[in-house]
């Protein structure tokens, strides 16, 4: 049985991973859209994304559209796998098979 993923389990990081996992079919997600969905502040979201990036769970790409800076975030295959494992662990705990 797999254990909890301490990086993902933090509340905002869990929501980030859940959102990016749904959005993965659409390609990278813009930082501003993610911020709006999660109702997070720039600083808070940025620091948690950096933590997830260091763990190899997300990629963060910065570029320019015209003169406007753009930051896009995407879940990595390793991140998607870790997220699925963590959710499976949570379900096991809830069902009483993992205590």
């Amino acid at each position: 049985m797999s254990g909890p993923d301490e990086i993902i389990h933090q509340t905002l990081r869990l929501k980030i991973m859940a959102t990016l996992n749904v959005e993965s079919t659409e390609g990278p997600m813009e930082f501003t859209r993610l911020r709006g969905l999660l109702k997070a502040t720039d600083g808070n979201l940025g620091s948690h994304l950096t933590t997830l990036e260091k763990a190899g769970y997300v990629t963060i790409d910065k570029d320019f559209v015209g003169k406007k800076p753009r930051t896009r975030v995407a879940i990595t295959p390793a991140g998607a796998k870790a997220f699925r494992s963590h959710v499976a662990y949570l379900r096991e705990v809830l069902e009483g098979t993992q205590l």
Binding site: G3, E6, V22, L90
Partner: protein
């Protein structure tokens, strides 16, 4: 790190809420282009009705509706073809929905046989508004607001701007659909 059942339940609830919200926003982004396309068709169709004789009205809508239906099916196929998107027969279901709405409108005309031409002009706006309203109540709240706006604006046009109803339907209702589509596409 050890988690209790309540911790796990809370975390799973967070996951479900985040995924539901992301899915809802994706639904809006997918709906946006349909609204823009049909808004454009409405605007063109009603303007042509305003400037062409009544005997030609049927011929105006035939190619426009055909273009709208073909565009809708193509768009559904493009969206369905994205990696990871579930194949749910979107194009076919949308087509059936459009046909059912058209049949409902035609049946209503037969049943109630309006004495003047104005109800023929405005009734599709009410039906489309009601359909979006119901979709909004059931799944996507923003579409509910779009439906309410179309419904209300159609009635405002019928009650207060009857002399200009064709231009009203083109500019206000067609324009509302296009603006709503642009709003939803950026969700």
């Amino acid at each position: 790190m050890t988690l209790s059942r309540s911790d796990a339940a809370g975390a799973l609830r967070d996951v479900e809420l985040a995924q539901a919200r992301a899915g809802e926003m994706r639904g809006y982004r997918h709906a946006g282009p349909y609204l823009i396309g049909w808004g454009l068709i409405w605007a063109v169709g009603y303007v042509l009705m305003a400037i062409r004789p009544q005997s030609e009205w049927g011929w105006i809508w035939l190619p426009l509706d055909a273009a709208g239906i073909i565009g809708t099916i193509l768009l559904a196929r493009v969206q369905r073809g994205k990696p990871g998107m579930a194949s749910n027969g979107g194009g076919g279901r949308i087509l059936l929905g459009i046909l059912f709405a058209a049949l409902f409108i035609a049946a209503t005309y037969i049943l109630f046989a309006p004495a003047t031409v104005t109800p023929f002009i405005v009734f599709p706006g009410l039906v489309i508004g009601a359909i979006y309203g119901m979709i909004g109540i059931a799944w996507l709240p923003r579409l509910g607001w779009v439906g309410f706006a179309i419904f209300a604006l159609t009635m405002v046009g019928y009650l207060f701007f009857r002399d200009w109803i064709l231009y009203w339907m083109a500019a206000v209702c067609g324009g509302s659909l296009m603006l709503s589509g642009a709003w939803l596409r950026n969700a």
